[in-house]
């Protein structure tokens, strides 16, 4: 039976697992559907199910469990609507070049890139963001989505090929 020290039914253990994976799960769903509220709902539902089923899931397989639960629910309700993602820019420390023209260009470029990300096909968008923003390795991404590492490589390549042209076009 489950090792009592590592039982997900214990609040301490469950909380640890929650803190480890909830943000990534939230990000993953958000990248897929572009709806913050829905991403939060599904994250909560997935972990709630884990909590209710804590007797039947081992500590080691908890991560796979929540990701697949959330993914499955999303497949049921997600209606392929147009996705608009919003991100906050991380403040940059170096501000060497701050002429108004430069700032305007940067703003245009930023908007173009945000649109570019939102317009990417879902499969490419999700791997690109998990790599660029969550800084996940290909192996981790493969695990999260449930595809092979080679599939991740192909999707990243396609995403980058599309995205890198955006800045080139503006300039």
């Amino acid at each position: 039976m489950a090792d009592s020290n590592n039982s997900l039914c214990q609040e301490e253990t469950f909380t640890k697992v929650f803190h480890e994976y909830s943000q990534t799960l939230f990000n993953y769903i958000y990248y897929k559907c572009g709806d913050r509220a829905q991403a939060e709902d599904l994250t909560q539902e997935a972990f709630l199910k884990l909590w209710k089923n804590c007797k039947n899931v081992s500590y080691e397989t908890a991560k796979g469990y929540v990701f697949r639960t959330a993914n499955n629910k999303l497949l049921n309700i997600y209606s392929h609507q147009k996705v608009v993602l919003n991100f906050e820019k991380i403040n940059r420390i170096d501000k060497t070049n701050e002429s108004p023209e430069f700032l305007m260009e940067e703003k245009e470029l930023h908007q173009a890139i945000m649109k570019g990300i939102s317009d990417l096909p879902e499969k490419q968008r999700v791997v690109f963001l998990l790599s660029r923003i969550d800084k996940k390795t290909y192996r981790e991404i493969a695990e999260i989505i449930g595809i092979s590492k080679q599939a991740v490589e192909k999707r990243i390549y396609k995403a980058l090929d599309t995205m890198r042209q955006i800045s080139v076009n503006i300039n």
């Binding site: 489950a2 039914c9 469950f14 909380t15 089923n53 081992s58 397989t61 990300i117």
Partner: protein, 310 residues
């Protein structure tokens, strides 16, 4: 733009200086760096405390001792039997379907799509997946999977040991804490316990990725492997056996089994650690490749035994 190793090394920040020099000269470099400079972003923050509070304040469906007993009765657990899977398949699949539905009623999963099983010591549990792939869970083990969309995504989580007989179809993956085993229709056994992953392929073909390494080992009929988190591994394939960080005893046992000889090893330290491979075609060759690095000499005696000496 080229889809190559350099690109992905750059993406994962594992590119060396020398490689970067080459990469910098690619026409796509400018676009990529601008893209990355303009995607220093963070995703919206999840209010973890609020969500966690809501979850923990929801009452769980905790089964009482009585409920557990009732569930186990439905599952008709049997004492651990060797090679029960393959005998049992010919004996009758119908019994198994009953087993499967019986479990679901007992567990009251409601509209949930996750099916999970867990058993204790000295028990074994046979179950059927929606596509009629079959598994036997053994000893102290847990297994779970999503039953909806099963035909498209056949992924199982396993902690412990189970035998599988998989119908040909889409990729079938067994996820464990120590690695991932993938097949396309075959019979095999996976054991993931502690820091060790063992896989035996009875029929068909499986691929194994262990301990987050980038190595994929393919096993076909009657091949097996055992990998430890420490880096130690043993791989037994049709034509070759590979070892890393094992004792001399382990290698000698494998040689004895493969070539059907006995070794005489007086005066030799069998606990010595080594890494080596040997081919299965010729005993002499195998002895040379395994023993020379340890400066151990050998003599094949008239009766077929092999004497080792220094």
């Amino acid at each position: 733009m080229t889809n190559d190793e350099l690109l992905h090394k750059w993406v994962n920040n594992s590119i060396t200086e020398g490689e970067l020099e080459i990469f910098r000269h690619r026409p796509e470099y400018l676009g990529l760096t601008q893209l990355y400079r303009n995607t220093q972003l963070q995703s919206p923050e999840l209010d973890k405390q609020a969500v966690l509070k809501k979850i923990l304040s929801t009452p769980k469906n905790i089964n009482t001792e009585q409920d557990d007993h009732a569930i186990h009765k439905d599952m008709k657990l049997k004492p651990n039997k060797k090679s029960s899977l393959f005998y049992w398949i010919s004996a009758g699949v119908a019994a198994c379907f009953l087993l499967f539905t019986g479990y679901q009623f007992g567990q009251s999963l409601g509209s949930d799509n996750v099916v999970s099983y867990e058993i204790a010591d000295n028990q074994s549990l046979e179950g059927v997946m929606p596509d009629e792939s079959i598994f036997v869970l053994r000893n102290v083990s847990k297994l779970s999977y999503l039953s909806s969309d099963w035909e498209k995504h056949r992924i199982i989580d396993l902690d412990g040991i189970a035998d599988f007989s998989v119908k040909k179809g889409s990729k079938f993956s067994v996820n464990t804490a120590n690695g991932i085993v993938e097949v396309l229709g075959t019979q095999f056994t996976v054991e993931s316990k502690g820091d060790v992953l063992k896989v035996y392929c009875k029929e068909g073909k499986v691929s194994v990725i262990f301990f987050e390494s980038d190595t994929k080992i393919i096993l076909t009929m009657n091949e097996s492997m055992e990998a430890h988190k420490s880096g130690r591994f043993l791989i037994s394939k049709k034509d070759i056996s590979s070892f890393r960080d094992v004792t001399l005893t382990t290698v000698i046992s494998a040689l004895e089994k493969q070539f059907k000889v006995n070794f005489i090893t007086e005066g030799i330290d069998l606990n010595e650690s080594l890494s080596c491979n040997f081919q299965h075609s010729k005993l002499d060759q195998a002895l040379i490749t395994t023993l020379t690095p340890l400066a151990i000499k050998f003599e094949v005696l008239p009766n077929g035994n092999v004497r080792l000496f220094r």
